[in-house]
Amino acid sequence: MAVASADPVVDVRGLRMSYGPNTVLRGVDVHVHRGEVLTLLGPNGAGKTTTVEILEGFRKPSAGEVRVLGVDPMTGDEAWRARVGVVLQSWRDHGRWRVAELLGHFARFYPPYRTPFAVDELLELVGLTDQAWSVVGKLSGGQRRRLDVAVGIVGRPEVLFLDEPTTGFDPEARQAFHDLVHRLADLDGTAILLTTHDMDEAEKLADRIVILVDGEVVADGSAPELTRRIASRDEVRYSLDGEFFVHATEDATGFVRELFKQHDKAIGDLEVRRASLEDVYMTMVREHEVRR
């Protein structure tokens, strides 16, 4: 059952969530299309997990319009459930099971709806082939997380939600995970929404980044767009007659030109650092906190 590519796979408008007097989400809009990777970036407590749990149908929102694959997650039936992949935050469940045994068990639920991954193929995809017969409870944190990802995609979902999927990954596992995400999005057209508080990861993975701070979307765009949107303050480091200087400027090129015009050969150790997404992110978080 393919979704018309014009309709977003995930369509959230005006999502609000309160727990008693605590408001966690204050009118969030998020859209994810087929084959798109969207990163929900934000500091701890921004409402990322709550948003994802609502999209997964595990939590009832206080207000707002939520559609995942055209269905309100609160009313989604089992056929809908089969099209949705979920990678929860890490748990301690199924600790006695063996890795391949557990994946095989989950795969058994899908055939009435869709063809699941073969266990061997899935193990290879997430890099757990050597751990196929390890006991789940004895996996390392990173291996455990890779198993979580495998469980999430076992039914070849059309939309995949991942809540902080790379916790505990070493750089190699991280790279493998990024490759997997791209593969799922590009080859299988999976719509992917993942949360992270790692800027670097958001930048590498996401077609689009939504920055969530204190339950509000403060920015929504591709990494280059977001970087451009903030009046970026680049940093110029140099030495003049052996003494070191750092200068922040919005026009690094102009500043350097002027520097050489005045001092020419007295300048050394020149280094220009462009604003990174991290700077953008920190600026946005700070600005938001000032406004409150």
């Binding site: 089992e78 056929a79 890490s90 748990w91 301690r92 469940d93 068990h105 058994r108």
Partner: protein, 279 residues
């Protein structure tokens, strides 16, 4: 095959896998069995005197009760603990994320427990046969009645375990139930013939399945004169079927209701991994 049937089959596989994981772990098995083994050894040490009236050995008289209590303990409190743990450690949430996962979860968990109960009871029975001369395992009557009584007992007890496990969210709150259940075990004629307890305690005990499961097991496993030590001096097997059957109906009606409530329950802050710790 329709999707629910597929989930039931996956659940059967799940139950078998979970049973195997426990049954093949020596530590787990010892953990499940040691209280009952001690109880059997204590009964063995009481051997030699006979119950007044029936002439049945005092130790032997208590054996079926120990088996019954082990079934109640493993099937009721044990099962409810499993459900509570599975809510806390994310097992349930994980199963909810799978199509028809709750069906598979329920079938697997209850079935796994049922097999574990039977295994526990059989191990204890084997030990009893070794310790006591007169456990009646060599007659066709026992071969027929024992499985029936066990099955009926499990039908009465496992759904109640599901109800309890679904009703509570933490081990601490389950403690509220554990105590009364312990009390019930004490007055259910397991260690001491019910007929010799005060009448009002007899009345309470006969409302609950523990006493009747014990009675059924005594009926199946003891020589027939042992009936004289029972209330009314006879095996009241019809009443047994009636009370156990009634509890089975109550449990089977209440369990799905409670389970749906549990499944709808949202992941709370108490089950967040940062609160629960990772491992």
């Amino acid at each position: 095959m329709n999707a629910r049937a597929v989930a039931v089959r996956a659940g059967v596989g799940r139950g078998w896998a979970e049973f195997r994981q426990r049954a093949t772990s020596f530590g787990d098995l010892v953990g499940e069995l040691w209280p009952w083994i001690i109880a059997l050894v204590v009964l063995y040490s009481l051997s030699g005197r006979t119950v007044l009236g029936s002439g049945v050995d005092v130790g032997l008289q208590g054996v079926p009760g120990v088996l019954g209590v082990s079934v109640v303990y493993t099937g009721l409190l044990g099962l409810s603990l499993v459900l509570i743990n599975d809510q806390a450690d994310g097992t349930l949430l994980r199963m909810k994320a799978v199509p028809n996962g709750m069906i598979g979860y329920l079938v697997g968990t209850v079935l796994g427990r049922a097999v574990l109960c039977v295994e526990t009871a059989l191990i204890l029975l084997a030990l009893s046969v070794y310790l006591f001369d007169d456990v009646q395992v060599n007659r066709p009557f026992t071969w027929f009645v024992l499985p029936c009584v066990l099955a009926l007992g499990l039908l009465a007890i496992l759904p109640l375990g599901v109800v309890l496990g679904a009703a509570f969210r933490s081990r601490a709150s389950l403690g509220l139930v554990t105590l009364p259940v312990m009390g019930l075990l004490a007055i259910s004629g397991v260690f001491y013939p019910l007929a010799e307890l005060p009448l009002f305690l007899q009345g309470i005990a006969q409302l609950f399945p523990v006493y009747w499961l014990g009675l059924g097991l005594r009926w199946a496993l003891l020589p027939s004169p042992a009936a004289l030590a029972e209330v009314d001096g006879a095996w009241r097997h019809l009443e047994m079927v009636g009370v156990l059957g009634a509890w089975a109906v109550v449990g089977l009606v209440a369990a799905p209701v409670m389970l749906r409530r549990m499944a709808r329950r949202e992941p709370g802050s108490t089950v967040r991994p940062d609160a629960a710790g990772q491992g």
